[in-house]
């Protein structure tokens, strides 16, 4: 039994279940991994080394259904580079946006358009933190728990965030440095950087996500001004001057 044999909807159910001892089971598929009596995992338990299957060849584009938009986007990416293989990461980004995760179908579609093997693309996808090889929820909250953020309380915020997102369509992950230590502790909510965060913000993030509105608008990094005292704070361009 491989978890490939399960319908993604079943997997989503499994993801939101808890172990009998109350331990968080979401995000791990350990319940679905077949094991020998002594506890070792049966070889071929994950899709990278499914020994029950023949090696996958490059899928035929004629027999692999690929959404038109996705195919066009991947082809446009390939055209940008001297070597089409360079488009692997942009193509996987595009496929993940369509499928929600780098599912076997998503990988196969990219493989068909790019003329690469699914194994190659899986090896690429598994290297990078932003590609998900397991089903996941729609919304992503990446909580930075690296040095600066953790000095300023990110670990406590992560716990609060994970608790607040319980039961919602939100994945909470602790992430390595996201490059925004000036607003530590911070998080990236569906790509939007917000901070500095307090524990109460966890609930607000969930509320904003559920309501489908911009997250923590007063704490978004995009509006932050420079702190350097040598930067002239008000330097309106001639155009804006004439407007005022």
């Amino acid at each position: 039994v491989s978890y490939r044999d399960h319908h993604p909807a079943d997997l989503n159910d499994a993801l939101s279940q808890r172990h009998s001892d109350g331990r968080e089971a979401r995000g791990s598929l350990s319940d679905l991994v077949p094991r020998f009596g002594h506890g070792s995992r049966v070889p071929g338990w994950d899709d990278a080394v499914d020994l029950t299957k023949d090696p996958a060849v490059i899928p035929d584009l004629a027999t692999t259904p690929v959404p038109d938009d996705l195919r066009r986007e991947i082809e446009a990416s390939m055209a940008k580079y001297p070597d089409r293989r360079s488009a692997a990461i942009p193509a996987l980004h595009a496929a993940q946006a369509v499928h929600g995760w780098c599912s076997p179908e998503a990988i196969e579609q990219v493989a068909a358009v790019m003329r690469l093997t699914p194994a190659y693309l899986t090896s690429v996808a598994s290297f990078y933190d932003m590609f998900e090889l397991e089903p996941k929820h729609t919304n992503d909250v990446f909580v930075c728990t690296n040095i600066t953020c953790s000095i300023l309380g990110a670990d406590e915020f992560y716990d609060a965030m994970a608790a607040a997102a319980e039961g919602q369509d939100i994945d909470v992950r602790s992430f390595e440095c996201l490059g925004a230590c000036d607003i530590a502790p911070m998080a990236s909510v569906n790509g939007e950087y917000v901070g500095p965060l307090e524990l109460a913000d966890a609930q607000r993030i969930v509320e904003d996500l559920v309501a489908g509105q911009p997250v923590l608008k007063d704490k978004q990094l995009r509006y932050r001004r420079s702190v350097d005292p040598n930067v002239e704070s008000e330097a309106p361009s001639p155009q804006t001057q004439s407007e005022t």
Partner: protein, 441 residues
């Protein structure tokens, strides 16, 4: 000091071509195209600017290493800013993307390069969107593309988004990633200047370095070199974070005392407490203590003080912080980000992480600190890239400088663990007659 890169950086609309051109943007590209590539390179050489990404290699010399002749050469702008503590390129790209594009144009012209790429980390979505819009604007206005501004020089520019891997900030790992592979570093030599992207000669520079190039041309290389110290010329963006009142990016002249940045600009610890330890150049640099605050902030003085300037990211921790917590975060980070290609790094980072965890659980002994220090010695210099070294240096410096505190942590955790073990046994009701500490070893 009058800022150069941060000159009126908050001006509304500076990310658009319109505003950037109104303050003289792209004039330096025009000027460069009217000069010979050799003269442009001479200006960059004269400026003495050293790479702002971490290694601090002179940009002019890097360009001069590119082979001459009629061949396809590449320029890659390293915007995969992932060194913990660093966030300067983010602000530059978000607020003034056209300075970067102009710098790329000038550097490409100086090196005879026709194809350029910007590799930006995947998490910087806002910045990538802004850069993409800026590239489209610049291409529309004829600053990027075929026969720029009526000259014979053509250049293409592609923005490439990464997908979250620290190792892709290492230049050869970045090249592999840009070629669509896993981001594994390559054996050097050959260096990228000889054999880089698609096996062609490749110039790789950081966002901040390239963004400075138009200003070097405007001031003149010689005048730019008058800023800073003799061997660390110019200004530098410093990202300061942690226990300070005003965290953020500051543009400083290289060579000013570190105290001036930490206390003068960033305001020092908000609690008024003393500084216990600080990273002067990102998490990869050996930590310094509160006694080192008067070290001048430039490449050579930092090296002399036993640390490094790195990417210019200062992380401050005041005396209420435990060194052990930061040690765990550093070890965990490098263990997670090691690509796994070289054994000393893959095993060394993982075992160091496990050894630090053992301190927490009370299983460690003071001898572990010696083993930890020896592991670091085994890593340094034995891998294809410096990711392992980047863990070994800060961990080694923490063990060396905070040994008494770490030994006390080990002892305290062991006592806690013993107490907990005893409570478990008592709770089970089997050890009443053994009341008293249970020998651990």
């Amino acid at each position: 000091m009058k800022p150069i890169l941060f000159d009126r950086i908050d001006e509304p609309g500076l990310n658009t071509l319109d505003v950037y051109q109104r303050r003289g943007g792209y004039e330096m590209l025009r000027k460069a195209l009217s000069m010979s590539p050799e003269d442009v390179l001479a200006q960059i050489m004269d400026s003495g600017i050293r790479g702002r990404g971490g290694a601090g290699f002179q940009m002019g010399r890097k360009i001069s290493f590119l082979p001459h002749g009629d061949m396809v050469k590449y320029l890659v702008c390293n915007a995969d800013e992932s060194e913990p503590g660093t966030f300067k390129d983010r602000e530059l790209m978000q607020k003034c993307p056209h300075a970067l594009l102009e710098g790329i144009g000038i550097a490409a012209y100086a090196g005879g390069i026709e194809k350029s790429f910007i590799y930006i980390r995947g998490e910087y979505q806002l910045q990538a969107d802004i850069l993409e819009a800026a590239i489209a604007e610049a291409a529309n206005a004829g600053f990027v593309g075929e026969r720029i501004l009526g000259s014979d020089f053509s250049m293409s520019l592609v923005l490439h988004r990464g997908a979250g891997a620290y190792i892709c900030g290492e230049e050869t790992g970045l090249l592999d990633s840009l070629e669509g592979k896993r981001g594994n570093p390559r054996l050097k030599p050959p260096f990228p200047a000889i054999e880089g992207l698609y096996a062609g000669p490749t110039l790789i520079n950081n966002v901040e370095t390239l963004s400075t190039v138009p200003y070097i041309l405007r001031m003149g290389g010689g005048d730019y070199a008058k800023l800073g110290t003799e061997t660390s010329t110019g200004t530098k963006l410093v990202s300061i974070s942690g226990d300070v009142k005003r965290p953020g990016n500051y543009e400083i002249e290289l060579g000013i005392p570190s105290r001036e940045i930490i206390y003068g600009l960033a305001g020092g610890p908000p609690s008024g407490k003393k500084i216990k330890f600080w990273f002067p150049g990102g998490s990869s640099s050996p930590v310094l203590t509160g006694d080192d605050l008067d070290v001048p902030y430039d490449f050579d003085s930092m090296a002399k003080a036993g640390s490094m300037l790195g990417s210019g990211a200062i992380i401050i921790a005041d005396e209420s912080r435990r060194i052990l917590d930061t040690m765990l975060k550093v070890a965990k980070f490098y263990a997670h980000e090691s690509c796994g290609k070289c054994v000393p790094c893959r095993e060394g980072t993982n075992w160091t992480h496990k050894m630090v965890q053992r301190i927490y659980t009370g299983e460690a002994t003071p001898m572990d600190l010696d083993i930890m220090a020896s592991v670091q010695e085994q890593i340094i210099g034995n891998c294809l890239c410096v990711l392992g070294d980047a863990m070994a240096m800060p961990i080694g410096s923490m063990v060396a400088k905070f040994r008494p505190e770490l030994e006390a942590e080990i002892e305290a955790a062991r006592e806690r663990a013993d107490g907990a073990a005893l409570e478990d046994v008592v709770a089970l009701g089997v050890a009443d007659e053994h009341a008293g500490p249970i020998p651990v070893h």
